[in-house]
């Protein structure tokens, strides 16, 4: 169920003491944090960039930025939300930089098809989803992914993507509706080609 998960009363994030130790000079502890958050960070970057090498670079860059701005982290919020916001912003700026080397939706699809060659039948659902998601804008795609990962409250999704909570809810609704329409169109087209 994807209800609005309450963000809850802010309790002390267990990461806070680790951050304090990192700030005190125990740099090696940051490796544990990278290990813990890398999958989500990479997934967010990948949903925005839709390109694995770029997502890898952007998420690494975000971790490095986060480390160097750790002093600026305000201990009132969750470290993960703060980190994913940096990942989101880094991926968005990578996307903007790469707009100069224009990559059309069609090219993205071709890249994906090449990657999944020989597994298309098994991955039809995944392929249709990929095609439909490619039609959404970056922020909506990232927000939708975070929503379905079932790990974040709407307030957290809003904070990561830099929206108001109400706006986030409306945008996720619209994105789901758009995705439903796109999936329907894709399936109709597929049916016509059979």
């Amino acid at each position: 169920m994807h209800g609005v998960r309450p963000s809850g009363v802010m309790t002390k994030d267990p990461e806070h003491s680790r951050i304090e130790r990192i700030l005190a000079g125990e740099q090696h502890l940051y490796a544990d944090m990278v290990d813990k958050y890398k999958s989500y960070a990479y997934t967010i970057a990948q949903k925005i960039l839709q390109n694995r090498p770029e997502a890898e670079e952007a998420s690494q860059d975000a971790f490095i930025k986060a480390y160097h701005h750790l002093k600026g982290f305000n201990f009132q919020s969750k470290f993960s939300t703060w980190l994913y916001r940096i990942v989101f912003n880094t991926a968005i700026s990578y996307k903007r930089k790469n707009r100069q080397q224009f990559q059309s939706i069609e090219n993205t699809v071709i890249e994906y098809q090449g990657e999944a060659e020989g597994m298309l039948e098994k991955n039809d659902k995944k392929r249709f989803l990929h095609l439909a998601l490619a039609k959404l804008n970056d922020a909506d795609r990232a927000a939708l992914t975070l929503f379905y990962l079932d790990e974040f409250s709407l307030e957290e999704i809003a904070e990561i993507t830099g929206m108001q909570a109400n706006t986030a809810k409306v945008r996720i609704h619209r994105a789901r509706q758009r995705l439903a329409d796109e999936l329907k169109n894709i399936l109709n087209q597929e049916a016509l080609t059979l």
């Binding site: 169920m1 994807h2 209800g3 609005v4 740099q27 090696h28 940051y30 490796a31 990278v34 290990d35 890398k38 999958s39 989500y40 960070a41 990479y42 997934t43 990948q46 997502a55 890898e56 998420s59 690494q60 971790f63 490095i64 930025k65 480390y67 160097h68 701005h69 600026g72 982290f73 305000n74 919020s77 703060w82 916001r85 940096i86 659902k125 995944k126 249709f128 989803l129 939708l144 992914t145 379905y148 990962l149 609704h173 789901r176 509706q177 995705l179 439903a180 329409d181 999936l183 329907k184």
Partner: protein, 175 residues
């Protein structure tokens, strides 16, 4: 199949997410029993949830952590141009623009002219026999152009050295 309205879509999504109270849920179920369009749309929206729920976390490369840790100390030192320096430079430019504007409006450049006579250029005589025109510029026009360029420079300076760092710091402060 008729496309259902936006509000019905929202209701169906809330129904799928389990966000409706018992009374609203019962109304939706009643409508679903009586309306084929609602049923079809619910199935379309449910399909989104089914395929999206299969979305798993993507995994980065195996040496991701080592790569990050290896690059931590290579992070380029940020060139922090202090805001006070930006404000100082901006004030100097605005002062220069102000002085130039006062001088222009008091007529200090009204009688100043300069000209470029192409006939005086040695190469032109060598290759071109026809007389060439001479260009006259008024000092007032040149100073006005310099004032406009300085205003452009002041605007860029304001953006790069004051506004941008200010908003970046404010964003970091919010985290």
């Amino acid at each position: 199949m008729k496309k259902v309205s936006q509000s019905i879509d929202d209701t169906l999504l809330d129904y799928l997410d389990g966000n409706l109270n018992a009374a609203d849920k019962s109304k939706v179920e009643q409508s679903l029993r009586n309306n084929k369009d609602w049923q079809n749309r619910l199935e379309e929206l449910r399909m989104v949830s089914i395929v999206m729920n299969e979305t798993k976390l993507s995994q980065p490369s195996k040496n991701f952590t080592q790569l990050v840790m290896g690059k931590l100390d290579q992070y380029p030192a940020q060139h922090h141009f202090p805001i006070w320096k930006g404000i100082f430079l901006l004030m100097v430019i605005l002062l220069a623009v102000g002085i130039a504007t006062v001088l222009v409006s008091s007529g200090a450049f009204d009688n100043t002219t300069t000209s470029i006579d192409l006939n005086q250029v040695y190469l032109s005589k060598k290759f071109i026999n026809e007389p060439l025109p001479a260009f006259h510029f008024s000092g007032k026009l040149i100073v006005n152009i310099i004032i406009i360029l300085n205003l452009g420079l002041a605007w860029i300076l304001l953006d790069r050295t004051i506004l941008k760092p200010f908003f970046q710091r404010r964003m970091q402060g919010q985290h």
